[in-house]
Symmetry: C2
């Protein structure tokens, strides 16, 4: 499969890379159709925000050009972009100046069962809770052991995703998705200022909701509120929207608002 | 410098390694003298505990044999051992079965200024706080962005280390050291059940204290208690013990108990 390291075809990196040593870097998982990255501006904005907060000296316009060239060559599938702080010395202090490394990994588009989008998915209630770290909250950084532990909680393929709460019990997100709740015709999604990954599809949905006059709130959500929701759905940059049809014995039909947003997004991912 | 990947000389790993993708692995930083790893049993015990908690299927006795062979070849310096969950597919669920990867990196012993151990070091008061995540607390895992951020807070070489608290304000550790407080002839070090790295030198000091009848407590320490201490010292597996001589305008002479423990440890690291 297509794979570039620092702009050239390669499948290996130095064992001294700080991405490996400390998870000192960021990533983006990008849908590619017709040779183009989808939601490019949102991916680049999140990467830029992560670089700012981690003090990673990235040349964002060069990274964008490289990503575009990679996607043109890939054609269709998924482009995973990793940026790390590059090679390190021993110890946490980075080399001065540090030279960030770019890694681009291409893969086929995942073969999601069509019924996930049509009929909805069952959600596994993860017991792994997310720690509250405002310095890293919202970023798609390379420190993902919490997600590894949460994903390891279930092996039953009837669950397509799991829902995770923070250590205080607030509902945050799925393991590899963001989560929305519909209540009284309003959209709700979790405040991600303490933990969680601020997904690009979540941002896109919030923007589209605002654009069509649909009320949307970003705030803390407790577990009882999730179970009492009229509709629940998941989203990410690859599959778009999956309705949630079951969580801990609570069943939901696919809701009208969820369908409306799926229809609204169709052109983004299918064309 | 000497470098092995999965038992063979190599300096590169696959870009698909889950250590790079998610920080999905563990490490140990080991002092090597006369061709032998120091505190071997403690390093292996911590690695084993990490593997158990992260569900990493490690062959610990094979890893130990490989480490011994590596140290024999290295002779003297530092051996950094990384173990990751090996190559991954896209997504957080690991390959079944997964094949962990071992990486051994040799380096020269750091040239610490002798006055750090003799006269003590100044401690930088980091504002970066550690998140509370009991599932990962104590482990030397590869998710180390908090340490990267904390170490980036100071560039003034007069500070040899920084002290970090947790999000609740408890004193936890140094950025790359554990911390002990002496009060009324008693040793105190932080409870690491919510965050922090349970260092092998910390464990060695606690064991030696018990062996020579010195009272030692592992419990929460607040910042005022740190500033009010009779003596403060840092420890890690490479430098042993450094007295702390200054923090935020509070000065300490090198204390008698700190000196006694330094003397006690001398044969471990110097011989």
């Amino acid at each position: 499969m297509l794979c570039w390291v620092d702009g050239r075809p390669d499948t290996q990196v130095s064992v001294s890379d700080r991405g490996l040593a400390y998870g000192d870097g960021l990533f983006e998982t990008i849908a590619v159709k017709r040779g183009e990255p989808r939601l490019l501006m949102r991916h680049m904005a999140r990467l830029g925000e992560g670089a700012r907060r981690l003090h990673l000296p990235l040349d964002l316009s060069a990274i964008e050009q490289e990503l575009l060239a990679f996607c043109a060559e890939l054609g269709a599938g998924v482009a995973k972009l990793l940026v790390t702080r590059g090679d390190g010395l021993r110890g946490y202090a980075p080399a001065q100046p540090s030279t960030p490394r770019r890694i681009l990994l291409g893969s086929l588009f995942p073969a999601y069962p069509p019924e996930h989008a049509e009929r909805g998915v069952r959600l596994y209630p993860c017991v792994t809770r997310l720690a509250e770290q405002p310095l890293l909250a919202g970023l798609k950084h390379l420190n993902r052991l919490e997600q590894v532990l949460a994903r390891n909680e279930w092996h039953d393929p009837r669950y397509a995703e799991g829902v995770v709460c923070d250590v205080s019990g607030r509902v945050i997100e799925g393991v590899y998705s963001n989560l929305f709740v519909v209540r009284d015709g309003q959209l709700l999604t979790a405040d991600l200022s303490r933990c969680g990954v601020a997904g690009v599809m979540r941002a896109e949905i919030l923007a589209r909701a605002a654009g069509c006059g649909l009320a949307a709130q970003v705030r803390d959500i407790d577990y009882a509120e999730l179970l009492a929701a009229d509709e629940v759905f998941l989203c990410n940059s690859l599959y778009g929207i999956w309705p949630v049809r079951e969580l801990q014995g609570r069943d939901w039909p696919v809701g009208a608002l969820t369908r409306k947003l799926q229809d609204n997004l169709r052109s983004l991912l299918d064309s």
